[in-house]
């Protein structure tokens, strides 16, 4: 099933629905339909964006006007942004978030590619077991791991380090990476690999020189999905860190302070939220088709 869904880089299944042409022959009905679709689009657009826009609005408000309930700030200020970028609390967390997510992503794509290649191309016993294992991990309740990992990490001394977060992120993103990548790998023209092997390349060389470049689009997609996953994590980030050393942005938001001990830093939190959402939105806009292809292939296709 769903082979279509994973055609790498191509459009999503719905995009090529033949039904549209059939319906295109009724102009009067089409106008109503067009209006209807536009209304539906607007509704979806609004529901998807409003919560984010409210945060954007709060982030530009002054402390005195934060309670005015108005969607467009009455008094605009950049103070919230200046505030968070002026503190190592946030900048350091941003660095941690980027570093940890990037390293995890690279590792997940490398390890995931190896395993996905084997799954897509090679016959070996234990393959089904591996796929089952990956599925099990994808479903794993993360809270179940928090206490043992916390205890283990502090015993071996990697509590509150980058590596202490990278390892669990890697674990939970590997199933995603393996699914997505093996879906992509199945679509690669394998004749090339065979040709390379005929030319005397070992299977490993064939993988590295011929298949890997062809697999690059799939790897980019996987990388984006894994990055979003790591960027998003909160439970591990608050459980396995305790200083600026390795605290990521979602966890650091809880450390923001307002004008006094009891004051809530609503403006700062909103500004930080906007800042960490921007890269994701850029990714989404740039790689929209790939993300859709990757998400669906990873899950439906398997």
């Amino acid at each position: 099933m769903a082979t279509i869904a994973s055609t790498p880089g191509a459009s999503t299944p719905g995009a090529s629905a033949p039904g549209t042409t059939a319906r295109g022959r009724r102009p009067s009905g089409e106008r109503t339909a067009l209006l209807g679709w536009s209304a539906a689009n607007l509704l979806i657009l609004g529901i998807s964006l409003v919560p984010l826009l409210w945060l954007v609005s709060l982030s530009f408000k002054t402390p005195a006007s934060i309670t005015d309930g108005s969607f467009i700030p009455n008094e605009w200020t950049l103070e919230n942004y200046r505030g968070i970028f002026g503190e190592s609390l946030f900048t350091r967390a941003l660095l941690n978030s980027l570093g940890i997510a990037l390293i995890s992503t690279v590792l997940a794509v490398v390890l995931g590619s190896m395993a996905a290649y084997a799954i897509a191309r090679l016959a070996f016993p234990g393959k089904r077991l591996l796929i089952g294992l990956a599925l099990l991990i994808a479903m794993f309740p993360q809270i179940s791991l928090v206490s043992p990992l916390f205890n283990l990490w502090r015993q071996i001394g990697i509590f509150d380090t980058w590596i202490g977060l990278i390892i669990p992120y890697l674990t939970f993103s590997l199933p995603l990476a393996i699914y997505t990548l093996s879906a992509f790998f199945r679509e690669i023209p394998w004749d090339l690999e065979k040709a390379a092997q005929v030319d005397g390349a070992t299977p490993l060389q064939a993988f590295l020189r011929v298949i890997a470049p062809l697999a690059a689009p799939g790897m980019v997609t996987t990388a984006i999905l894994v990055f979003i996953f790591c960027w998003n994590d909160f439970l591990f980030a608050i459980s396995l860190t305790s200083t600026e050393q390795s605290r990521t942005v979602p966890a650091a938001i809880a450390f923001f302070t307002g004008a006094s001990q009891f004051a809530q830093p609503i403006g700062s939190i909103a500004a930080a939220a906007v800042v960490i959402t921007i890269p994701i939105i850029i990714f989404v806009l740039l790689f929209q088709r790939r993300i859709v292809a990757g998400l669906t292939s990873g899950a439906v296709k398997g």
Binding site: I4, Q142, V300
Partner: protein, 332 residues
């Protein structure tokens, strides 16, 4: 894939293969053949392939096992001990006492009920909305690409950030939604708190559901729908009699993913209510007992119980509903 286990899948697969993807169809029919051929005499090449397969998978498997299998075993061990982080020297074996503590506590059952309610309601809503969105994207005359891009934004937004957005929206003074449904502070009552949590969950993950269902919709051959229409089937009949059965595998996988993901809900509750007013999920309860009460023994037994519940749900889906495990059997 899954041909042996699932008749519908077979239809879907066949229909799809006919739907015009010759390359894939070829690859698919040719695919298993060499594997079968290889199986008979284990040639040197096959042994090499075997070794390479294991070697390539080994790093991933080692990482996965190191971070899950060992810790879950360790959690089981901790759950059988009295272990207060403040007094590690008093740690000792207590058998199943921690489980008795948890299972006789109304807090556990309440958290479990809340988690189940959140899971069932949010996944049900997600399914309906997701299906509507998928059909919209499948059929839309205009703005298909736009919708697809826009609905990815909730998916991409960090859950904690989204939850803060909702928290401020529903809080009097800083929000625009509070009082919308008559209750001035929805986040301070159980029913409304859970409703807001479900809303946040639905908003965040409906896009994912929609995309999975969209992929499933692609399995429905257009000819079949047209034929049904010629035979006089209404739109609703075409949807329930033709589309849904053909999409069943995709639907079940999507539901399995979403149910198990919703079951471990943590981030949005932590931000929205922090579990106050009996809105805590099992994950929140586990976290509080681990990190606020510092009780690793009881906390670990909660962890193990949550794991068992999730495993049970997955088992029911796979065995009871015949959900084919994604990436499972069949495929070479």
């Amino acid at each position: 894939m899954r041909r042996r286990s699932e008749p519908e899948t077979q239809t879907a697969g066949e229909a799809m293969a006919n739907a015009g993807e010759p390359t894939n169809a070829d690859e698919r029919t040719n695919g298993p053949a060499p594997a079968n051929r290889r199986r008979a005499p284990l040639s040197a090449g096959a042994r090499a392939e075997r070794r390479l397969g294991w070697a390539l998978c080994a790093p991933a498997v080692i990482v996965i096992l190191a971070v899950t299998a060992y810790p879950i075993g360790y959690a089981v061990y901790l759950s059988l001990r009295r272990y207060d982080l403040r007094f590690p020297d008093d740690s000792k074996f207590v058998g199943l006492a921690n489980y008795a503590t948890v299972l006789t506590s109304s807090l556990w059952w309440q958290a479990l009920a809340v988690t189940v309610i959140i899971t069932v309601i949010s996944v049900a809503i997600q399914f309906v909305l997701g299906m509507a969105l998928a059909l919209t994207m499948h059929r839309a005359l205009v703005g298909r690409g736009l919708i697809r891009t826009v609905i990815l934004i909730p998916y991409g937004i960090v859950t904690v950030v989204a939850a803060f957005g909702w928290r401020y929206a529903w809080t009097p003074d800083t929000g625009y939604l509070s009082g919308l449904f008559g209750d001035a502070t929805p986040l301070s009552s159980q029913v409304w708190g859970i409703a807001v949590i479900i809303l946040a969950e639905v908003w965040k993950t409906t896009p994912f559901m929609a995309l999975l269902l969209l992929a499933g919709l692609a399995l429905v051959p257009e000819e079949l729908l047209r034929a049904a229409k010629v035979d006089g089937a209404t739109a609703w009949q075409r949807f329930t009699r033709v589309m849904l059965p053909l999409m069943k595998p995709a639907i079940l996988v999507a539901l399995l993913f979403r149910v198990l993901d919703a079951f471990r809900i943590f981030d949005s509750i932590y931000v929205l209510t922090a579990g106050a007013y009996d809105t805590r999920s099992v994950s929140i309860l586990g976290y509080d007992n681990l990190f606020t009460a510092l009780n690793l023994g009881v906390g670990s037994s909660l962890s193990v119980l949550i794991f068992l519940v999730v495993a049970l749900v997955a088992f029911i889906f796979v065995k009871g509903f015949g959900t084919a495990a994604p990436g499972g059997e069949g495929r070479r």
